[in-house]
Symmetry: C2
Subunit: 279 residues, 2 copies
Amino acid sequence: MHEKKYDLVSDSRDSRYLTLRSLQTPQGRSRTGCYVIEGIRHLSRAVEARSAVQSIFIDPSVLSNHYGRKLARKLRKQGVPGVRLSCDLYRTLTMASEPQGVGAVIRQEWIPINRVAVPRNSLWLAIESIESPGNLGTILRTAEASGVRGVFVLADECDPHDPAAIRASMGSLFSQQLIRCSVHEFIAWARAKGVTIVASTPMGLMNYKDLPCRWPVVLALGSEKRGLSEQILDAAHFTVRIPMHGLCDSLNVAVAAGVLLFEMSSQRRGEGDVKQRTR
Amino acid sequence: MHEKKYDLVSDSRDSRYLTLRSLQTPQGRSRTGCYVIEGIRHLSRAVEARSAVQSIFIDPSVLSNHYGRKLARKLRKQGVPGVRLSCDLYRTLTMASEPQGVGAVIRQEWIPINRVAVPRNSLWLAIESIESPGNLGTILRTAEASGVRGVFVLADECDPHDPAAIRASMGSLFSQQLIRCSVHEFIAWARAKGVTIVASTPMGLMNYKDLPCRWPVVLALGSEKRGLSEQILDAAHFTVRIPMHGLCDSLNVAVAAGVLLFEMSSQRRGEGDVKQRTR
């Protein structure tokens, strides 16, 4: 087994293990600018999206999948550093109920706001603050599926590289352009680039079905509890609501994102570029 | 404090506590036909929906909210039996990070399939099997918000009374008509009542936006991993897909439910009955 050529780490005080552990905390991620992923699907999507793989870690006793082993071997041959971990240590690095035996440290990629190109009929998403990392990850997955070109993250505590967010994103994290900036910078960017701001709020003046989409456009979503800030609501060109039946006063924020983004996406000209599913 | 009139239970071997504990398992719920809820919002929604409250349990050290105390008092005065639990015991009965100090045992209500009335332009949902209780609860919440009249649950292992499902449903569980039946009975029902079956599948022949909604209509959703059975796909009048951008091959099932149900709901005649949000 080629994987054996990586050092075996089984001591929980080993600095290489401690570094991996630290990336599970917001502090560790913010200090290093890196994050941890686990599982064959995620690693494969990360490599496909040319994410910067810094190192890999393997539990050879679990990594039996042929494709997963091939992927790990390929990265090793490319000179990516790595370690083998004992089963116990590996387990602490994943939320998966059935770990797949291969994971990686990836460098975070944030696009500087002044380098964001804005095609004429592009769709964008701005997240002011989402409290649940699972919701955040599901929103990233939904954003990719609906053709969102990039996601603005407007709150420091909102971390798309949180393990639960990565897990729920199902790999969409790697192919998405992420932009971290302040609310003020975001509004200035939208104004400068002629991007229509659509704010989602239960108090929206317009039923989302009546929204006349003016391209390019960005949908702004607020937190599960507090919604959007006054600053964004004031700057928005349109405020939209999803009409509710029954006693419901709101939807799950990821479901609301899906309903709104797919409606906006379907109004886009040139929808011919959408992949037609064959399986 | 009126709540003090209930017996205090602090022994984890007390049968009243053990009964509450047992309702957190599928076996306990299925044996008794009851389930447990926790929190003021849930209890209040359950009472509002005239759910059959069998008993309540309280942690008076935590129940400080005025409305919650009033609700508990009202139920006690109506003769609903109850216990006070020690803080430790109470904690084991809730998934909430901040327990609210009041919960209840409720009798499950399943509508017999032969007693389901089908108004002309009604929207229905059939869930063949959803693996994650959180997804199931979010789907129930989304179903109520989009005006679904009742939810068919076609798999025994799919349990809307699971604590995680109840939590994610945000109270929608109580106001929804639930029907438990086999796939065969469901298909026979739809045929007998002239209900159009729309099946959601990545291999759907039709973009969901092109669906000509024929009322009454039922949307059928399959499991996260396996999708819908051949039996339902064969019986469906239409199979619809949500076109995907990027590398995504699917959406989270609750997000897909939201995109499809809100599209179908918006095509309904007489949408004037939708509440216009004012806050």
